[in-house]
């Protein structure tokens, strides 16, 4: 079988596995929320609520049905894109996620781009000798950014740049004095459009000023992952036989690094990017809460505080689905890019 055929088969198998994982994740979340100790009704109404109110809420949530029926109901709803209704404001969970997801994606994508830029620059130290000062610095950078609690770094950044220096706003997503731009929900894009079409550049400036601290903090934390990945892979490539062979042919060190070692070291970094997305979400949860960034993670925290079970369930399922899709996409991309991979 040719490589193209094998590749196609691998991609097919990988894509077929994704729904299975999604189904497992959704079932897991469903089961956890049902089997966990404690009654959601108690949590919502308190233990001393009248029996009629409890029964009514139980029926509204569908908790009076047998477990298997609830599960079937949940799965059918999921297939139709129906995630249930929020308990606190009676909005469909899907709408709530639709309103908050663009903010999270905007923050995540900007942070990821910044992190890649900073992390790859630091990771370039992989061409330095092992145990040298450059190597030590890069290793400490990697461990340090890993060990920093995201919310604490965010608070310190707030303290210095917002409270003491007053350069940037403490939190939020848009200046409260301006009308938020309408359109896609991605404020950067929307306000860029406002700027280009109507000359209202203060919108873009406002969104950028609000985005800078949260995205910057998240980027610092994630950059360590990129730096470590590039540093280790670059080191391995520089130590390999083919680079040695190229060096003995008299190639310049500069050409050796840029043309021979770097391309091979960059591919594994792509894998790391896929893995980073999962930690990005964990970090984003805390960053959003710290900066009151109105994204899906901050909404999840609110839903948890309000014991809004359907909303918690919906957000977790959607976020898990996003992680699975990114993981699969990176796997497929990597298989397509790297001719050395065998399936």
């Amino acid at each position: 079988m040719s490589r193209a055929n094998r590749l196609l088969r691998y991609v097919g198998a990988r894509l077929a596995l994704a729904p299975v994982m999604l189904w497992l994740l959704a079932s897991l979340v469903f089961l956890l929320l049902r089997l966990a100790p404690g009654d959601p009704i108690d949590a919502l109404l308190g233990t001393r609520a009248p029996e009629a109110a409890r029964a009514a809420l139980r029926a509204q949530l569908g908790l009076d049905q047998p477990l298997l029926q609830q599960y079937g109901h949940f799965l059918v709803g999921l297939l139709q894109g129906d995630l249930g209704t929020s308990l606190t404001n009676q909005q469909p969970v899907r709408a709530v996620i639709g309103q908050t997801l663009p903010a999270s994606l905007e923050l995540g994508v900007v942070a990821l781009l910044l992190a890649a830029a900073v992390g790859l620059a630091v990771g370039f130290s992989g061409i330095a000798r092992a145990e040298s000062r450059w190597d030590l610095g890069a290793r400490l950078y990697g461990i340090g950014t890993y060990a920093l609690p995201s919310f604490w770094l965010a608070m310190m950044a707030q303290l210095v740049f917002a409270v003491w220096l007053g350069w940037l706003p403490v939190g939020g997503r848009f200046p409260p004095t301006l009308l938020p731009p309408s359109g896609t929900g991605f404020y950067l894009l929307d306000s860029l459009g406002d700027g280009l079409l109507h000359g209202q550049w203060q919108n873009l400036l406002g969104s950028l000023r609000h985005l800078l601290l949260p995205a910057g903090t998240l980027a610092v934390l994630l950059s360590g992952i990129f730096a470590n990945a590039l540093r280790l892979n670059l080191r391995r490539a520089m130590d390999s036989d083919y680079v040695e062979a190229a060096r003995s042919r008299g190639l310049s060190e500069r050409r050796l690094i840029l043309r021979h070692a770097l391309p091979n070291a960059l591919l594994p970094v792509l894998t790391i990017t896929g893995i980073t997305v999962a930690s990005l979400i964990g970090g984003a949860l805390l960053i959003e809460v710290t900066f009151s960034w109105p994204g899906v993670a901050a909404r999840l925290q609110e839903a948890i505080a309000q014991r809004d079970y359907p909303l918690v369930q919906g957000i977790v399922v959607v976020v898990a689905a996003l992680v699975v899709m990114v993981t699969v996409a990176v796997d497929v991309l990597l298989a397509w890019l790297d001719p050395r991979l065998e399936f």
Binding site: L32, L148, F151, V316
Partner: protein, 284 residues
Amino acid sequence: MVVDAPRPTKPATNLSARLARWGLVIVAAYAAVALVMPLLVHLGLLSDPTAGVDNPVNAAPSWGHWCGTDRLGRDVCSRTLAGSGVALQVVVLAVLIALLIGVPLGMVSGYLGGGLDRLLVLLMDTLYTLPVLLLSVVLAFLLGRGLPNAAAALCVVYIPQYFRVVRNQSVQIKAELYIEAARSLGAGPLWILRRYLLRNVITSVPVLLTLNAADAVLVLGGLGFLGLGLPETVPEWGGDLQLALTALPTGIWWTALYPGLALFVLVLGLAFLGEGLERWLSDG
């Protein structure tokens, strides 16, 4: 940067040993604080981390309170120090439970193979895909606040990690000749698991244990920051930072700086220790 000196084929262990030593010192210092802290409070040398009625509220650092007081008048220094014992207790408990479940499960699954193995692998891989913090947030939300609850919410996150490492190693070792020899001599599966697999597999555990502990300290802090995990009465860094966040815009920095710093340095110590151990074990 021109690099022309010959490259050593194996990274020298010099730096790794130094890192591990630093990590050990840091972790030992935290453990010592955790042990001595209740005694000092009892003797009256340190103020009680949970009592603050007599103290000024939100006072800046001074001779009386070296790190200031929080909005309930509690001493930030003693709260920060007391957090060490709480964090170590939860994290050690969580990681040990994960170890005790994950390692045997991985060994049995890898050794027996078959349908059970495939099912467990799929389940663990699925759990592994979920972001660590998201999973523990959901679990902590369901289990409620409390020390054993927080430990349980954390341990579920780490079971798949032990399972994966141990299971893959078991599959490899299972095919070795000496296992077959033992089997042909009449050794039962329990004997083989205990006598041969466990001893081989156990070497990869210390590194994973230390790195997981580092991660667990961070996650516990995150849970506390989100108002989950430990009860409000327990002095815990994440919970204290949540309180500090509301006071931050008014310029009250001391309630935020010290608990976070304590959290950061403990994770740093554990990460140093783990990284050093890893290099040391893989070289030796």
